[in-house]
């Protein structure tokens, strides 16, 4: 299925991009996360939440084609 991926904060630096459209043979957020962690090894040490179509979701959340998935790390500065 085709997904739009958005990377925020430090995650954009670890993946080297702020956004990408990709096809992935995955059914859940968790499976997509594994694919991304393989492709971008820096993610394995990173903390982030995942939102699908602007809603923070659990790892088991089922994905549909054309949704927007955002990887959201916590920020620290104040």
């Amino acid at each position: 299925m085709e997904l739009t991926l958005k990377y925020f904060g430090r995650i954009a630096e670890l993946t080297g991009k702020t956004e990408e459209i990709r096809s992935a043979a995955v059914e859940t957020v968790d499976e997509l996360d594994s694919v991304l962690r393989r492709e971008y090894p820096g993610l394995s040490m990173a903390t982030y939440s995942i939102a699908v179509d602007h809603e923070i979701v659990k790892p088991s959340f089922p994905l549909k084609s054309k949704v927007e998935v955002a990887l959201l790390p916590p920020f620290s500065g104040g």
């Binding site: 925020f8 904060g9 430090r10 630096e13 670890l14 820096g42 040490m45 990173a46 903390t47 939440s49 939102a51 602007h54 809603e55 923070i56 955002a70 959201l72 790390p73 916590p74 920020f75 620290s76 500065g77 104040g78």
Partner: protein, 366 residues
């Protein structure tokens, strides 16, 4: 209270005298009076929030002033709470200001937040943030979160009217050194101001329209393209219940300004005596002076992506201009399982002098 001061906001039909009275009755504690806390305090005081608490143990530094407009050049070196109190009282004498120069700690937080209706997190580290979250969940108080990463920011209202808490978004703190703050990464004053004002606005909304304010949302702002992402989130009820229970202990936070285990810092003399150690220049490539004999150069902001260039079996001494970035680099490497990493407390210039005079017997003052 002279209402003329607030005339322009009272004029708004959905605020009126009733809204102004709600502000005058409100008790808000701001923890951390830095890049975020400073605009929050200025705007809440100006709009007539009746009782403001300010907790911060830092003093005003010259490098604060580009973004912390609460302070002036004459305040440099003063305790922040003292400078903040003076400025806020002259900005609006209607407001009663209470200051806490000891900052927030595990031992004092429950008592400190007790008199307040709303807590605002202007801190710059995760241990303080998780401490504030857990204390607010236990005390059933709403709190407003804000944080910065370079040109981006986040903000949210947590634990308000049954809404989610920070742990519902990020259950556990990241590893020490994983996420750097403004002191390491840098920040534009306007970005700190924008996020601080979003937090202040969220506070006004919470006070004036407690039933309408978004309490299940987190906002991500990117000032590079002026975008705001509004994300919905759910409460993790069992997690919040856990935090609320007596068996859940507050996280340890003994120094609000530093959440990370301090890295091993070495003086120049100690560094030169370390056997087989490699010097790692973590300054930006254009910074002077250049040191020809240095083994490696990786700017601290690129370090995480370039870890493969380093060997975990080797000993590294990170250095920069002031020692601050060296500490950040050493902390980051420690978090990535490098065991023998040190931060040089001396400057690059001192290191250069020492290396160039290695065989000389003159007594340098390091």
């Amino acid at each position: 209270m002279i209402m003329e001061r607030y005339q322009r906001q009272i004029q708004l039909e959905d605020i009126g005298l009733e809204g102004q009275q709600a502000l005058a009755n409100a008790k808000v504690l701001v923890v951390g009076a830095g890049g975020l806390g400073s605009p929050v305090l200025q705007y809440l005081a100006a709009s007539g929030v009746g009782f403001l608490g300010v907790a911060d143990m830092d003093t005003v530094a010259l490098s604060n002033l580009h973004r912390q407009l609460l302070y002036t050049t004459a305040d440099v070196g003063k305790p922040k709470v003292q400078a903040a109190q003076e400025r806020l009282e002259s900005l609006n004498p209607d407001v009663e200001i209470n200051v806490y120069p000891e900052g927030v700690h595990t031992a004092n937080i429950m008592e400190m937040i007790a008199p307040y209706d709303l807590i605002i997190d202007g801190t710059d580290n995760f241990s303080a943030r998780y401490l504030i979250n857990d204390a607010c969940v236990k005390s059933d108080k709403a709190w407003i979160y804000g944080a910065l990463f370079k040109h981006q920011g986040q903000f949210a209202l947590f634990n308000h009217r049954g809404g989610p808490c920070y742990r519902c978004l990020y259950p556990k703190p990241p590893a020490a050194g994983e996420v750097a703050g403004c002191n390491v990464l840098g920040v534009l004053g306007t970005v700190a101001g924008i996020i601080g004002l979003q937090m202040a606005h969220l506070a006004l909304q919470t006070i004036i329209w407690p039933e309408e304010v978004p309490n299940q949302s987190v906002f991500y702002v990117n000032q590079q393209n002026f975008s705001v992402q509004h994300l919905k989130m759910d409460k993790n009820q069992s997690l919040c219940d856990n935090v609320q229970s007596d068996s859940w202990e507050l996280p340890q936070n003994n120094a609000i300004t530093n959440c990370e285990t301090p890295p091993n810092t070495v003086s120049l003399k100690e560094a030169l005596l370390l056997d087989q150690a490699l010097f790692l220049d973590v300054r930006d490539t254009e910074e002077q002076p250049k040191i020809a004999a240095v083994d490696l150069q990786i700017p601290v902001k690129e370090l995480e992506q370039r870890l493969k260039e380093l060997d975990k079996e080797k000993t590294y001494i990170a250095f920069c201009k002031s020692g601050q970035r060296a500490k950040a680099a050493a902390t980051l490497l420690k978090a990535h399982d490098f065991e023998a990493v040190y931060a040089l407390s001396a400057s690059a210039q001192h290191l250069k002098n020492a290396i160039e005079n290695e065989n000389s017997t003159t007594n340098e003052v390091y």
